[in-house]
Homo-oligomer: 213 residues x 3
């Protein structure tokens, strides 16, 4: 995430908002596991930054965003700690956080695509880079909380990321007006995600129980 | 895995077969956890590619194989999705998949050794590189399924990889006929693994229960 | 860890001791999960080397320490295997291992700070590098044992690492006598950790149970 071109200042601002929001919802997950303040802070940072970190490792994109700008690391960690004070409030504002999380998903996905594109990889890898950036932090959070990742089990989340990435990446090839395309992608992604949450759209599940063994 | 020298075309073909097979068996694991289609697809890709990815990260071997050739990513993911349709069949063909999995273990191990060797590391690291390539994908699969990795608990799996790697690596030093040695290693590895499955050879376990605490 | 400047020979020696000790305590964790010998050996190596490996990946610091010096890999793995023979003894020497583990925490933290400093990153990243080096191995161990990481749940561990790192890093800026500062940091870190264990100092926990949902 986050090594956005300076022109994309709105996206940049939204990325900060999203980092904060992800740190805060991760703090609630930490609280459900009765972690201590260190765990809350770390889980916040890892959830918010895990996706971008994995993407940078996969692409060999050094220095990592948070190594170059430690503020990315401090922000979600601090937000997670603050959440301890306002847990009830954060929980009650669930709806707001669903929106903020959707913003994070879409903005991180777009940033992931941007960075991959700058590194001159093929189109499928641009999409995967967007998806890893948008989704992998939550997978790390669930693994550290000792859960099967939510991403693999329910809701349209990765799918939103893939659709957003596909739509966004089309623009790279077409030389369209970049700002217009960014706004369109953003609206599409957010709408898709919020509709999916509202109407409980879900991927079908694959349930396999063997008889023997 | 998989950045095989073009001459090793048979190994290359076998690697494709193994990627497919690993994606398919990972899909069954996903089905046992009732994951949705996204989870099935991702778990398939992660299981098949995780070992090679970790090896590339450890050795600083960029670009990663699947970044350079996205087909490596698509193949096991697609195979995993197809498995949803044929789950019963795949399960009934258990024996065939044990053989395919053994092929994967041996082929990935050999590729891991090849790549490490090209990067001029010491012999122990060549062996470790083979083992990581052959075994780490299954560890990631088990962690994401919220299990203690099977690799750490039972069966001769990592040991087959180490023995295969040791035998294979001996050739590097000896300047033997490369093709002959490749075939010999392949036969040795497969036989060892299949005998271990057939006769239920196992590593002894270390069971430690403290009285107090 | 461990790419210590040659002058720091005492720190270097202590790092070897710490690698061994971490391999041995990881072996007990493996035994509690009834892992086989392969699992014991791997868990020992991963626990001892995981922190340094993650740090090197994050900083792009190649070659990894254990790739350059495979002895770092062999040592904790071998120590873990030996522990199978002496499990009762190791368990009874709990107090000694608490001291050895504290040495590991402090020495690894200092090494992580050293390496980050050499790579010219900002002060917060120097501290984070120390903390990742000192603490991440235990997180990997717990994830592989299918536990919520102990680091996130109790005891002053990461905090000791941060305080040690902060104190140590101050010296970098001040051009003080390096050896004196190293010794002071070491004593401070060890004392803090042992006092924390002795008097059961703990971070407050964040317990969050929602009523509904």
């Amino acid at each position: 995430m986050w090594s956005l071109p300076p022109s994309d200042s709105v996206l940049h601002l939204l990325a900060f908002v999203a980092l904060t929001a992800q740190g805060m919802t991760a703090a609630l997950a930490a609280g459900r596991r009765s972690m201590d303040y260190v765990g809350v802070c770390m889980l916040g940072s890892i959830t918010a930054l895990g996706g971008g970190t994995l993407r940078d490792l996969f692409l060999g994109h050094y220095p990592l965003a948070w190594v170059a700008n430690p503020i990315y690391l401090v922000l979600p960690g601090a937000a997670a700690l603050l959440t301890i004070l306002f847990a009830r409030l954060v929980h009650r504002l669930q709806l707001a956080f669903i929106v903020l999380d959707a913003i994070g998903l879409v903005v991180f996905t777009m940033t992931g695509c941007d960075i991959a594109w700058q590194m001159d990889v093929s189109l499928p890898i641009v999409i995967v880079s967007g998806m890893v950036t948008g989704c992998a932090g939550g997978v790390l959070r669930d693994v550290l909380c000792n859960d099967v990742p939510l991403l693999f089990r329910s809701e349209l989340y990765a799918s939103v990321s893939v659709v957003t990435g596909l739509f966004y990446a089309t623009a790279f090839g077409l030389n369209l007006n970049a700002e217009l395309w960014t706004i369109l992608t953003f609206i599409l992604g957010i709408s898709f995600r919020l509709l999916a949450v509202r109407y409980k759209w879900e991927m079908p599940k694959f349930v396999f129980k063997e008889d023997e063994r």
